[in-house]
Symmetry: C2
Subunit: 229 residues, 2 copies
């Protein structure tokens, strides 16, 4: 019983986790139908797919795969082995654990410390007609520098964040960084090695559709789509 598997991705353009999955689908050249989901609307049909009510959700035929951490393991298990040398996990289990740790760091910790709050206060709240909380924004912005310095340090040690080869960790970090960059929050001259690393990722064909996204609440800075920024 072989049939053509169809993927549908429920996402939001400024959700780092959604961008991460879109990058992976592009890298693995998997076509997917994209549906924009606004979490704050708590759509019944969407809650039936994911009780947590969060994007991204990947529908494969009729079955939902919920959350970026679960989706990338699923994509790796089902698509990774077919990719041979372009598989986004290293061979060694301890090296894979390191890549998983970094992916979680950027998709969960960086997100909870910074990006989630900025997007919520500046975009989600505006869509709902509420005023942003300046205090929350200030705290989130104060977290940017230590996180970006860590990213800069990681980029100094190796070509790619997880070591010698490109991995899921690079896309997890780049997805989150791309959202902050869209919001004009990154002073790139402070993080020269992270900038070089990001320029290399941003030039990949998988990044094109991400960079062309826009939302009406915020216009990105001029350098945002520039590959040589």
């Amino acid at each position: 019983m072989k049939e053509d598997v169809k993927f549908t991705l429920f996402h939001h353009p400024l959700s780092s986790a959604s961008r991460y999955v879109r990058l992976l689908l592009n890298e693995y050249q998997i076509a997917a139908h994209l549906i924009k989901e606004y979490e704050w609307q708590k759509r019944k049909e969407f809650l039936a797919l994911n009780l947590a009510g969060t994007v991204p959700v990947l529908l494969t035929n009729e079955t939902p795969v919920c959350g970026a951490l679960v989706i990338y393991e699923f994509l790796d298990e089902t698509q990774g082995p077919l990719k041979n040398h372009s598989r986004l996990f290293p061979q060694n289990p301890l090296a894979r654990a390191h890549v998983r740790h970094l992916s979680e760091w950027f998709l969960i910790k960086f997100e909870n410390d910074i990006t989630r709050h900025l997007v919520k206060e500046r975009v989600y709240k505006q869509e709902g007609g509420a005023a942003p909380d300046a205090n929350i924004i200030r705290k989130a912005i104060a977290n940017i520098r230590p996180h970006m310095e860590y990213l800069n340090w990681l980029s100094t040690n190796h070509n790619w964040l997880g070591g010698a080869s490109l991995s899921y960790a690079d896309f997890a970090a780049a997805a989150t960084v791309s959202v902050l960059d869209y919001m004009g929050e990154l002073q790139w001259p402070l993080y020269p090695m992270a900038k070089e690393w990001y320029a290399r990722l941003k030039s990949r064909p998988s990044f094109r559709s991400i960079l062309s996204d826009s939302i009406h609440e915020i216009t990105p800075p001029i350098h945002y789509t520039n590959l040589d920024f």
Copy 2:
């Protein structure tokens, strides 16, 4: 170059994520040296192992594997295949995605909505000499019922949370539930199917060392260690 791998686990007795990893080590019969770590002390040597400063961290020889989600994938990859029928993942990738989703639900969402706050306010703050915040405690307690009703519903549908066989999802949920139960927060008569499921898990030999843990700030209710509660 084969050598006897030695595991050391940095944990806290009331950290759900730590209990989860201890349960898995017990299930897979892997001996590990346990070290109690108090996150709030921000010990330099511990931060060098995990920059996030959180337990659990599993040291395998000299290499740290950080965080419960990363540790269970590592244990599954390195130990799971040796376990044949007692492997804690189903065969099908979509079924594995479901188990991963539930594991994340209990280790991250349930934890962030409820357990983390109760442990922080009642235990961590007391150790540091600070007063608990009654408002935070009230909010966390209000989240218990919907979460436990979901667990009850999951236990009604199948023998085990992830489907027909015992999986990582059961241990993730049981670890978190065991912490709440220790704190006397569970009105078991409200959740009869979850209670049956938990009784089955609690009776497993892997649970023994967890149930015998105690901390001086809180004494568990009488039923806590009772296998027929």
